[in-house]
Assembly symmetry: C2
């Protein structure tokens, strides 16, 4: 399968949410124009996004809500459970561990790790904070799919090295640093300050 | 000024962090190859990204670290303070209000709002939780630049309507919903589950 742009994958997630909402409202078909409006894009782009993955919809009839919902769920790998660990039991890590939007989509937080002995052994919502020095041993007996990295910038690359050595192939990075990983490891980064910089850029460029 | 793609603005934020690190390590020049490596892109893309904003660097000499740092800070609107409010005193809102990465870049959290009378009046790190029903009155006396929306999906659009009515022109949205705003209001969305979907997509497409 050819390489699909991140922006396309993001729009699939948005289309999926709109389709799920449409289903709840009892709709059985949606048009590419409706998908476009909710995805912040054009009908042509919707058709192009979906064409990467097969032939969907009928001219003049739109897309079948249940069929397209299932197809996008399948494309995004949401037909199964994914085991997730959170590394870093600070403020962001705590919020993520308790975030209730993961479970309904099949992302199951199975463990939280920290290096701080004062935090190791404490419990949140039934999840015990484990000692990060034991991560390779733990993952040998309970493999995980995705690690969420919520550690300070200075410790991030070292934590990633250990996770990759332990076999982790996908990392969601909240540390404000560009991570170095082998080509077979997928990384997505979320940087809260950088998101705000996108807005300060917009506000400034309008004022010019 | 022509419209610059979000992806370009994101890379400017990454280049800026690399330049700041270079400065701390005592470097006075960097090459486009180094910027490219840290930005996960090519030298040609670095030159293109920077060309939107003027003429930087000298062939064979690279870019002056202090000069390019100042230029990017200026482009991103980081030469001033921005007043930020957080709407929603739940888990994500709490973590964001206490996030220590905003202040060093000039993003100053001046207030947190909630509609829950049990939370209004409580205090975190010196910031009192205010009653969201008073937001228009508060903003009339203390204008703010950016609102961070950390409320449940079902309340998000109504909260945005009130913020826009109160004059807010930039919103960082953590609610899992596509917001409708007037064209003069900038929105960026961060959806934690969608970020994980990007990774489950990657893992699934490799397994196909």
């Amino acid at each position: 399968m050819k390489r699909i742009a991140d922006s396309t994958v993001r729009r699939l997630s948005v289309y999926l949410r709109f389709l799920e909402g449409s289903s709840q409202r009892g709709l059985t078909t949606v048009s590419s124009a409706e998908l476009a409006r909710h995805g912040g894009t054009t009908s042509a782009q919707v058709r192009k996004d979906l064409s990467f993955f097969g032939s969907f919809g009928k001219r003049g009839l739109g897309y079948s809500v249940p069929e397209l919902t299932n197809s996008i769920r399948d494309i995004l790998g949401l037909g199964r459970e994914w085991n997730v660990v959170i590394v870093g039991a600070g403020k962001i890590g705590t919020a993520l561990a308790q975030y209730d939007g993961f479970r309904p989509r099949g992302f199951h937080v199975v463990a939280v790790y920290d290096t701080d002995s004062g935090k190791v052994g404490t419990r949140w919502d039934g999840i015990v904070v484990r000692d990060f020095s034991q991560v390779a041993r733990d993952l040998a007996s309970q493999p995980i799919d995705i690690a969420v990295l919520a550690v300070p910038a200075e410790g991030a690359q070292d934590a990633v090295r250990r996770l990759v050595d332990a076999g982790v192939k996908a990392i969601l990075n909240f540390a404000p640093v560009q991570l170095k990983v082998p080509p077979d490891v997928a990384v997505r980064s979320v940087n809260m300050a950088m998101e705000l910089e996108g807005l300060s850029y917009e506000l400034s460029s309008r004022a010019r």
